[in-house]
Structures are given as C-alpha cells and as structure tokens.
Amino acid sequence: MTKKEPFFWITVSCGLIILAFILLPLIQMLTAPSFSMLKETIQDKDVVRSIWLSIYTAGLAALIAFVFGTPLAYILARSNFRGKHLIESIIDLPIVIPHPVVGIAILSVAGKNHWLGQFFGELGIRIMGSVTGIVVVLTFVGLPFYVNAVKNGFENISPRLENVSRSLGASMFSTFSRITFPLAWRSMLIGIIMCSARAISEFGAVVVVAYHPMIAPVLLYERFESYGLKYSQPVAVWLVSVCLTLFLILRILTLRNKKDE
C-alpha cells in the first residue's frame, strides 16, 4: 500500500468539512418535527396547495425557459458576433441581482405608472399578487440557469455533424430536430432541472411581487412569522422532500438513458 501524501488528506478533510457544513443543518431541520406533526401538516389544505403551486409555477417557468431559451442558447453556442459577450452577461444578470431587487424591478414595470403595466392592465393581466406574477418572477431568476446549461450542451456537439446533415440537403429545422436535438436533449433536461430548482427555491423576489397566492417558501415564512419555528419546520420538510423526490426521478431518468445508448 502506498503511503498517502498529506495533500490527499487535506483534500479529504476539506471535502468532509463541506459535506458536514451542508448536511448538518439540513438533517437537523429534517429530523426536528415529530411524525404526528408531519402528518398534521400534510393534511393542511393550505400546505398542500402551496407546495403544488410552487411545483406548478416552477415547472411553468422551466417550460417558458425551454421554449424561449433553447433558440437563444443555440445561437450563442453556434455563432460569434459583436456584442455576444454583452448578451451573455445580460443573461447572467438575474443571478447577480439581489432577489428583492428583482421583485421591485418587476413591480415597477407592472404598475400603472409604467406604459407596460398600463398595457397589461388594459389586457386584464395582473402581475401583483397573481400566479402570472409568480411565473414571471420565477422565469426571470431561472432563465440564466437554463440558457447556460443548454449552451454548454450545444457547444459540446460538433458543428460538423450539422454541416454534414445540411450538405445532404436537410433543412435547418430538420437538422436541428433530427441531429442536434437528440444529441442535446440531456443538457436541456439538466437545464430544466436547474431552472426549476432555482425557481422553486426563490423567496425574496416572489414575496415582493406576490404574498398571496402563497408558494411554499412564502407559506413557510408566514408560518414562521405567525406561529414560530415549530410550525414552519414541518412545511419545510415536506417541501424539501417533494422537491428532492422530483429531482431524483428526473436524474434517474436521464442517467438510465445514458447507459442505454
């Protein structure tokens, strides 16, 4: 057996510290509520409704990111043009901006003091305190994660494959749907997971735009405010478990297909 260098032990201990740092508080929180509390909480209609609303709005945000983000990611991966870096930094902006600022920014264009808000108002679309508003916010914060993941996916596919397809007479659309998409769909799925994971965890921006209807993090906050820690923890446990299960299923699906190929 070869003697391990000190460097090895440094890497291992750093890794362990990080794992403990992430896991300890989470485990503490997950194990704090009693079983009967958890049961009582999941029978609470408000809790179920808010968790469902969270999943539903985050899913919608990911869907919007998929529809609008995929073509953009493709352009960014395939072509070079002046101002590309500028566009890339603009796309990263939602990651950098503090969350409440995002909410305030969206509210300030959604009110009737802004022409866009006036326009929406005439169409009967309300942003403040509506599901539409929540989806707008979640899409805003989730988009960069989708676009970046998918852009990387496209970059890893050799353009030569597309060129061959095009030279054999396939149209741009059929090249995309028959060559690029089948090769890149996994990165899209990862993008969707990343985007919806980011969206489902958002609190700061949502609470500025919509307090009611309550998504799960807002309900958690409300429970904490009005009833204290004891009654907010079970909600947290359910939200975390539901999210982890969903993401686990998605992960397993993607991994299994990888083996098949």
């Binding site: 802004h114 403040m128 307090y211 009611h212 209807p213 204290g228 820690l229």
Partner: protein
C-alpha cells in the same frame, strides 16, 4: 532553533493579546455592537436616532433590524437571536410574547394613528376625502390593501379602523362590503411594503400609520378620533373592534380588541450589551433626544415615557427610572 520559533510564536500571541484586550475590556464608556430589533414603522426615526446616538457614543455600533413587531419578538423567543433592545409598534406584543421569560420591562414611549394613504396617480385621487373614502374603497377597479393581520399590528389595526368606521358612520355591513372589494392578494406582510406598491402604481390606496405617511411624503386622509386608533381617550370605543389573528398553532386564533396605537420598547433579559442598551434608551427616552425626533416625524411621543406598574419601574436601571413615570 526550534526553541527560538516557539518563543517567536509566544511573542506573537502576546502581541495579539495586547492588541485585542483593550477592545474587549473597555472603560466605563459603552462600546461594541448594540443589536436592536424594531417595527418597520420605526425605521425612519430610528435611523435618525442612530446617527445622533453614534455621534455621542462613537464606540458603539448600533445594528438595527426592522421587521413586523411580532416577528421581532419571534426572533428573540423562537430563534434565540441575540438582541439588546426590542421596539414594537404595539406594546402588547412585548407583554404577550416576551414577558416574563425574555424580558421584564415594557416602556411605552409613543403613539400613532392610522390614515388612508394614496398618491396623485391613485384612482379617484382627485375625489377622495374624509367623508367619501369608504365609498371609493368599495368601487370596482380600485386596488387597496393593508398589512397581514397575523404578522403586522398595522394589519389588524387597519381592520379595526374599518370596523369602527362602520359603527361611527352607522352603516351596518360596511366592514364586510369593504373587505369584499379587497382580494386577499392585496394583503402584504408589512405595512411599509405597501408604500412601494403605491409608488409604482400597483396599488391605489393603503392603510398606514400617520408617521409612515409623513415620512414617505404620501397623500393621506385623516379620520376622526373615534375610528383612527390614535387617541387613548377613546380606548373604550376602540375596544368594540375585534379582530381574530393566528394563535399559537395553525388553525387556532387569538382575539384582539382595539386599543390606541401605543409603542413599546424593552431591554431583553439576556442582552449581550446591556451597558450600551441602557445608554441608548437614556438617549431615546430623553425629551430633547429621541422623543424629539419622534415628534418631528409624525409620531407623537409620550413625554415622559411610561410603564404600567411601579414594580416594573423599580426593576429598571436607575439612569432610566428618572425618565419614566408610572401610568396605566
């Protein structure tokens, strides 16, 4: 060689100790961090007080955290966050959530009243006045809101004002009719949040404290004393307004009766920096210090500040006792 480095190391630690010691063992002058949780509606006057106080005691760093008053209390009682001073927009919050375990004094220092705020771009802004506000709030398309009653005292007080209006104006059913025109979405956790909704044109009218309206330069409708919760002489009238807020666990409720808006401040029992906390209260409760600032900002202070019993007064540090009277 090795011995040499040990000596060097010891010398280094010694030097560190010399540098650190004077900070931790300060002289009689208050120093260090002073942590304060306070109601959102006190943000502006406390910011001004912080400036003046820190100029007087440059070694103290006042760290303020604003939130709903009940949240302030929860942070102390449930989260065990270190805190020296807690100031609540409703002194009852201190009585209900902090005394006796986390604190044993409750000093009432200021009053306030509720007003209906709006901006120049609010719908029907050119029409609204103290006589027709309740008609306008019932009109379709008017977006108005108030703070969450379960979290922010301003929230349940807004509801009480409308109940009192129903009674004072002798318009049975007015309260229900008003609320019917206020979708749940227009309820926000903190009353101060409603201001940005007003200013961005997302909302037309919001119930706020007079002080907040003055500090944010909003337009506002002042209501008569029998419904504005601002005059403690009307406490027997205010009592008839009753609002249910969340109790100790989901699904349970506590009933709150109307009472004039009275602000309370307390020093926690586990205050990490009691010395500085006392120094701050000394400044804050001084009629020429903090109380004067409150007055200038639309929050009429009690001069002098008051506690309910002489027992409570006796528990206070001597420096504070002379700034306080016993009055129920």
């Amino acid at each position: 060689m090795k011995k040499n480095s040990v000596i060097k190391l010891m010398a280094f630690f010694f030097l560190c100790a010399i540098i650190i010691l004077p900070v931790s063992h300060a002289s009689a002058e208050p120093a260090g961090k002073l942590i304060m949780f306070h109601a959102g509606s006190l943000s502006v006057p406390f910011a001004a007080m912080e400036k003046a106080f820190e100029a007087k005691y440059p070694k103290v760093d006042l760290l303020r955290e604003a939130s709903g008053s009940r949240k302030c209390a929860r942070k102390i009682s449930d989260l065990n966050k270190p805190c020296d001073i807690m100031a609540s927009a409703d002194y009852k919050v201190i009585d209900n959530l902090l005394i006796p375990k986390y604190s044993d004094c409750n000093i009432r220092f200021a009053t306030n009243q509720l007003v209906l705020c709006y901006t120049d771009t609010s719908k029907y802004a050119d029409e609204i006045n103290a006589d027709n506000w309740y008609e306008i709030l019932q009109r379709k398309g008017v977006v108005w809101g108030h703070a969450e009653p379960n979290i922010d005292p301003c929230g349940y007080r807004s509801l009480m004002v409308m109940q009192l209006a129903e009674k004072a104006l002798d318009k049975p059913g007015l309260y229900e009719r008003l609320l019917a025109n206020r979708p749940k979405e227009n309820v926000r956790p903190k009353s101060v949040e409603l201001i940005s909704l007003l200013q961005t044109g997302n909302m037309d009218y919001a119930w706020e404290y007079l002080s907040v309206a003055v500090q944010h330069k909003l337009n506002y409708i002042v209501l008569p004393d029998e419904m504005n919760l601002g005059n403690y002489k009307y406490d027997s009238v205010y009592e008839s307004a009753v609002v249910k807020v969340s109790g100790k666990k989901p699904g349970t409720f506590t009933t709150l009766k109307g009472k004039s808006c009275t602000y309370g401040v307390t020093i926690t029992n586990d205050a990490p920096n009691k010395e500085a906390a006392i120094a701050f209260l000394q400044y804050m409760l001084d009629p020429e210090g903090g109380l004067k600032i409150l007055k200038e900002m639309g929050q009429p202070p009690f001069v002098p500040a008051r506690v309910p019993t002489s027992e409570m007064k006796d528990k206070l540090p001597a420096e504070l006792q002379k700034l306080i009277i016993v009055k129920d």
